[in-house]
Subunit: 218 residues, 2 copies
């Protein structure tokens, strides 16, 4: 795949084009740091947006869920889909209300999803989900049974029509407003990891594994 994803009329930014980014490595870094996406699809002419987990495998994005899921069944018919991933990095406080903003990194992917079939392919996809969210987990857990694989629907979306949008740094005020006696700057935000909570039925001799106690996203 080429290092730059070709912009289309649907992914090109009309406003603030400086925030647009079609660099494949940049897009993939955002997809690899986040783990929740918002999936947009249409049912009976009405748009729906559902949050769900995902994993990137090469040049494809995988999403999964129950075979009974309305969303996944709607998408499995080669329906058009939009998958959006957003990381919020900070609140940008300008001297004027109008120029307040946020620092963020987002990716929008457009296309048609296809169903992942075959036990081996589905198992590989489930391993990718697991390793994307909690690297190191897969080797410890009980693997999916045949029935569990059957109950899982996995969709695959090519990363061919996609774009990132990124804002970083300080506020940008109107020149005259820099004279105002108002604090301006950025409140940084990030996803913080708390102390792991043992399951109430955890066996006495099982300690917290290192991939859990050292867990972080960035």
């Amino acid at each position: 795949m080429s290092e730059v994803i070709t912009p289309t009329s649907r992914t090109k930014l009309r406003r603030s084009p400086g925030r647009g980014n079609f660099d494949r490595a940049t897009i993939y870094r955002i997809l690899d740091e986040a783990f929740v996406c918002h999936v947009g699809f249409t049912v009976d002419n009405h748009p729906f947006v559902i949050p769900t987990g995902y994993a990137r495998v090469g040049d494809r994005l995988l999403i999964h869920g129950s075979s009974a899921s309305r969303m996944l069944r709607a998408l499995a018919g080669e329906a058009e889909v939009c998958v959006t991933v957003t990381l919020i990095d900070g609140l940008v406080l300008a001297r004027s209300a109008f120029h307040h903003s946020m620092n963020y990194r987002s990716v929008v992917i457009l296309g048609q999803a296809t169903v992942v079939n075959g036990e081996r392919e589905k198992l590989r996809a489930l391993r990718a989900f697991s390793e994307h969210v909690v690297p190191g987990r897969w080797q410890e857990v009980r693997r999916p049974s045949k029935d569990e694989l059957k109950a899982t629907l996995i969709l695959s979306l090519p990363l061919t029509e996609a774009s990132a949008k990124i804002r970083t740094g300080a506020p940008v005020d109107d020149e005259a407003d820099y004279a105002l006696e108002v604090w301006a700057g950025v409140i940084p935000l990030r996803l913080a990891v708390g102390v792991p909570v043992d399951d109430p039925r955890l066996k006495d001799d099982v300690g917290v594994p290192r991939y859990v106690s050292n867990y972080r996203r960035d």
Copy 2:
């Protein structure tokens, strides 16, 4: 408005109905804690999902952006819209790959947005955005000019067709799997606030206001 929002065929959960919640207070608490939503809409039969800020004012959700925004212009024509708000509270690690999950609180709102017109109404909405994201900020900043108000499009969505979906607590494993020597539990996640970063052009005598240094969401 009634204390419970009436479920519709579009908001009723078909799977895991125990996670569904139509209690207005519960839905509003989630909307008031988060500040970024994902807006789903349809253009030329293709779904789009765009992240943006919002505020709740009474029984309405307000979103705003540039009058030049594709999204806002598409929605201003009384188009159908889906607005989804998601808070991720933790990673749920079960003993089997299949039962891994996340703790989360999400709200899905369906409906038609209308444009907020009139300078006074628009100003009130912008104040609500500001106070929703950074309470205390509005009284300090330069208020929007007439031209800035003109450049801002504000949409209002009634909170009449909406539902929350919530998962909390420990993993739920198959009974046989509780015998496995595998750590299970929850990795808590939350939005953390960093140390405020002064704007490089900040005047020397302006300190960080308390509503910034004490900033938190929950």
